[in-house]
Amino acid sequence: MKKLIIAAAVSALAAGAAFADTVRLGTEGAYPPYNFVNDAGEIDGFERELGDAICASAGLECTWVKNDWDSIIPNLVSGNYDAIIAGMSITDERDEVIDFTSEYFPADPSGYMAMAGSSVDVSSAVIAAQVNTIQAAHVASSGATLVEFATPDETIAAVKNGEADAVLADRGYLDKFVAESGGELIFVGDGIIIGGGVGMGVRESDSELKGKLNDAIAALKADGTVNKLIEKWFEGMTGPY
C-alpha cells in the first residue's frame, strides 16, 4: 500500500507538470437524459456531451467524476472536484453556498407522475422526491406528505410499489418513464415551473473558472451547439437559445 501511495504521489506530480489546467467535473450519473452511466460504464447523456463541448471551447482539460447527489455540493466545496454539472437548477438557497455559471438549460417544468387509474390529489397525497432537490422543497411547502430518497431511481420505484402516490421530478427525467410504461404511468396535472434554469456549480472562491465556463457557454449558445444537444437528448423540445 505504501508503495502504491508513493507511486501515486510521484505520478501525480509528473502528471501535474503535463496538464496544468485539468478541471474535474462532478456529476451524479443517475439522471438520464441529463447524465447517466451507460452500459459501457462511461458517463453519458446531455451534460456529458455539453460538458465536453464546454471544455473544448474553453481550452480546458477535463475529467469526469461521479458523486452521489446528496453530497455533491459539500464535495465541491471541499475541493474533490472543481465544477458540478448535474442538472442542478440555479436557486438562491444553493447560491449562498456555491456560485453558478449562466444557465445552459431553461427552467424545466416539473411534473407529478403516478400510476394510471389512481386518483391523486397532489396537495395532500404522499409524494416522493429526491433529497435536496427543488422538487423536495416544493412538496414540503405544498402541504403534501414528502418522502425523500437518495437517488432519482428510488423515487420511481416508490411509486411503482405503492410507497408513494406520486413522484415530483423534472419532466425531462420523467418523460421517458411515462412513454415506455405502456400506459401504466401517467402525469397528473400540468407541469409546474419551480426553479430557474440549470447551470454549472463552482466554488465561490473560483471566479476565474466561472468566467471561463461562462464564456464557453455563451459561445456554444451563440453557435447553436446547446440547442442542438437539447433537441437530441430531450424529445420534442426545441432549443430556446
Binding site: M1, T22, N38, D39
Partner: protein, 286 residues
C-alpha cells in the same frame, strides 16, 4: 454477438447484458472488497497490539492513551467515525502540504464555506488520473477501518493476555526466563488461543462492515448493485425494469459464502492452536 442488443432475446440477451463493461466494473468491485479486507487486517492487528501493549504499559501516560483509544472508539458509533476520519485526515494532509509547499501563499485556507488549498497541495493533484483519486480515497478508508477495528482488536488482545493462567508465567520465571523471554515464549503463544474467538468474531464483523465503503464514495459492490439494479429506460442499451432485488440477493449469497468459509477456517485454526493445551482452560474441542 452483442453488437445489436435490441435484436436479442431471452438467454442470449441476458448473457450479453451480464457481460457489459459496466457489469465488468461490478465484478471488479468484489475485488475491491477483498482488497480492503486483505490490506486492512495487518493494520488492524498492529493497532490492536499497540493498543493492548499501551494498556499494559508500566508508564502511566501510555496506559491512559491505550484506555482512552479503546474506550473512545468503542463508545462512538462506527458510522460517525467512518465519516469523520477520512474528511479530517484529508483536510489535515492538504492543510499540511499547503503550509509546506505554498508557504508564501497569503490566501486564507478557510474562505467561508470553501476549504481552499493551493493547487500544488491538493492530494492527489487535481490533474492526477482518476485512479489516484480513488486510491487515495481507498487509503483513507483503510485508515478509518484500521482505527476503529484496531480498538476492538486491542480490547480482545488485552483480554486474552490477561486470560493466560498466571501459573504458566510463574513457571516460566521459575525456569529462569526474563520478562522478555516470558512474554515472547510463553505469554504470546498461549494468548492466541484466548484471542482467536474474539478475533474471528471481529473478522466476521469486518466483512459485514465493508459496505461502509459505499458511504465513503468508494464504488464497491453495494454501489454497483444499486446502480445496475435500478430501472433502465431506453436511454440505455439494455433497458430493464427494477431488478435491485436480484442484485441485492446476489450480494447476500456472496456475504453468506464469505462468512461461512471464514468460519470454517477459524475453527480449523482454533483446533490447531489449542494443541497441547487442556480443553478445560481453552474450551476448544481438540
Amino acid at each position: 454477438m452483442c453488437s445489436d442488443p435490441s435484436s436479442l432475446e431471452g438467454f442470449q440477451w441476458l448473457l450479453c447484458y451480464l457481460t457489459t463493461a459496466k457489469h465488468m466494473q461490478f465484478y471488479g468491485s468484489f475485488g475491491i472488497v477483498m482488497l480492503l479486507l486483505v490490506v486492512t487486517v495487518p493494520f488492524i492487528m498492529v493497532f490492536g497490539f499497540l493498543g493492548a501493549l499501551a494498556r499494559r504499559s508500566g508508564f502511566a501516560p501510555f496506559r491512559w492513551f491505550g484506555l482512552g483509544y479503546t474506550s473512545m472508539v468503542r463508545g462512538v458509533p462506527d458510522i460517525a467515525f467512518f465519516l469523520f476520519v477520512p474528511i479530517a485526515l484529508d483536510q489535515f494532509v492538504e492543510f499540511s502540504r499547503h503550509k509546506i509547499k505554498c508557504s508564501d501563499s497569503t490566501e486564507p485556507i478557510y474562505q467561508g464555506n470553501d476549504f481552499v488549498v493551493c493547487a500544488a497541495a491538493k492530494m492527489p493533484l487535481g490533474s492526477a488520473p482518476q485512479f489516484f483519486h480513488e486510491a487515495w480515497g481507498f487509503t483513507l478508508a483503510v485508515v478509518a477501518f484500521a482505527i476503529v477495528f484496531g480498538a476492538f482488536a486491542a480490547n480482545t488482545i488485552h483480554g486474552a493476555l490477561m486470560a493466560v493462567p498466571k501459573g504458566q508465567l510463574e513457571t516460566a520465571r521459575a525456569y529462569g526466563m526474563n520478562d522478555r523471554q516470558t512474554f515472547w515464549r510463553v505469554h504470546m503463544p498461549q494468548m492466541w488461543v484466548y484471542a482467536l474467538p474474539g478475533l474471528s468474531n471481529l473478522w466476521q464483523i469486518l466483512i459485514k462492515a465493508t459496505p461502509l465503503l459505499f458511504l465513503l464514495g468508494i464504488e464497491e459492490i453495494v454501489y454497483w448493485a444499486r446502480e445496475l439494479g435500478g430501472a433502465k429506460t431506453g436511454f440505455f442499451t439494455y433497458p430493464h425494469p427494477d431488478w435491485r432485488m436480484w442484485y441485492f440477493m446476489a450480494l447476500l449469497f456472496f456475504y453468506v459464502f464469505l462468512t461461512w468459509a471464514s468460519q470454517k477456517a477459524f475453527i480449523w485454526l482454533e483446533i490447531k492452536l489449542a494443541r497441547g493445551m487442556t480443553s478445560r482452560t481453552t474450551g476448544v474441542r481438540a
